[in-house]
C-alpha cells in the first residue's frame, strides 16, 4: 500500500511561498491559518536555506496520541485526518505537534479557539468524498480526483515533492546522485565560491 509523504528539496526551494498561497486558495483556508508555511534559516546570510513545512502525516502522530476526544484517524494512504465535528478546540494537539501544524481560527468569544484546522494532504475529511460539507470543513479532496496536493503539483522549481513515499524518495535519490548534495551541488562553488562552507 502506498504511503503518502511530503518531501521538500531544500536545495531547490526559492522561498516564493507559492505553495502557501496555492494551499490557501485551493482549500479556502480560514483567516489567520496557514496550513503550509515556508521556513527560512540563516535568512539574508550566505548559505540560507528554505524549507516548505506542513503536517508531516506522522506514522505515530503525537497529535492523535494527546487528543482527549480522539478525533484523529489515519487513512489507508497513511494520511492523518481529523473530525471537526468532534474537535473541542482544546489545543493539546497544537502543543504536541513538533511542526506547528494544528492551528485554530480563533472565531469564538472569550478566547475560545474554534475547531482545529490542519493540512489534509488535499484529501478532505470524514464526510462523503467531494461533498459540499467536506469542502466547507476541510477543503478540496484532490486525492479522490486522482490528483496530488496542489502545493506540490504547482511548485515552480519542483522542490516540493508529494505522493507515494517510495517513489518520491527514489526521485530525490536520483537528483542527489546527479547533482550532489548541499555544498557539493552542481554549480555551488560557481555561485558562492569555495569560501562558503555549509
Amino acid at each position: 500500500m502506498a504511503r503518502m509523504k511530503f518531501l521538500c528539496d531544500a536545495d531547490r526551494c526559492i522561498e516564493c511561498n507559492a505553495c502557501v498561497t496555492a494551499c490557501k486558495n485551493e482549500n479556502e483556508v480560514p483567516w489567520g491559518i496557514n496550513r503550509r508555511r515556508v521556513v527560512t534559516i540563516n535568512d539574508g546570510k550566505p548559505g540560507e536555506r528554505s524549507v516548505s513545512m506542513a503536517c508531516m502525516h506522522c506514522t505515530d502522530a503525537p497529535c492523535a496520541a494527546v487528543c482527549p476526544v480522539d478525533c484523529f484517524y489515519t487513512t489507508a494512504d497513511a494520511v492523518v485526518l481529523h473530525s471537526k465535528d468532534l474537535c473541542i478546540g482544546c489545543g493539546y494537539c497544537f502543543y504536541a505537534c513538533p511542526f506547528g501544524a494544528p492551528q485554530y481560527p480563533k472565531v469564538g468569544n472569550f478566547g475560545s479557539r474554534g475547531k482545529m484546522d490542519k493540512c489534509t494532504y488535499c484529501s478532505g475529511g470524514p464526510e462523503a468524498d467531494l461533498s459540499p460539507a467536506e469542502f466547507q470543513k476541510y477543503g478540496s479532496n484532490r486525492l479522490a480526483e486522482g490528483k496530488l496536493p496542489l502545493c506540490a503539483e504547482m511548485c515552480s522549481t519542483k522542490s516540493l515533492l508529494a505522493g507515494d513515499g517510495e517513489i518520491i524518495a527514489q526521485i530525490y535519490k536520483e537528483r542527489v546522485v546527479k547533482r550532489g548534495y548541499g555544498s557539493g551541488a552542481w554549480g555551488w562553488q560557481t555561485a558562492y565560491k569555495e569560501t562558503i562552507a555549509i
Binding site: 484517524y73 479532496n141 496530488l148
Partner: protein, 67 residues
C-alpha cells in the same frame, strides 16, 4: 453523659445519616446519566479507504519531477 449531651449526639447522627442518604441517592441518580456511549471518532472502512490512485495525472507529476 448527661441527657442533654445524648440528645445532641442523637440529633447530630440524624443529620449525618440524612446527608449520607442524600449523597447515596444522588450517586445512584447520576450514575446512569454518566454511562453514555463513547464519542470518539470510529471511522468506518469508507472513511479510511485508500483514495490515492496512480492516475495519468499523478504519473505525469512523477515524470516531470525527475528532471
Amino acid at each position: 453523659m448527661s441527657q442533654k449531651a445524648k440528645e445532641t449526639e442523637k440529633s447530630a447522627f440524624d443529620r449525618r445519616s440524612f446527608f449520607k442518604a442524600l449523597g447515596a441517592g444522588a450517586t445512584v441518580a447520576v450514575a446512569p446519566a454518566m454511562v453514555t456511549p463513547a464519542q470518539a471518532v470510529d471511522p468506518g472502512k469508507d472513511e479510511t479507504r485508500a483514495r490515492y490512485k496512480e492516475s495519468d495525472h499523478v504519473k505525469a507529476f512523477y515524470r516531470s519531477n525527475r528532471y
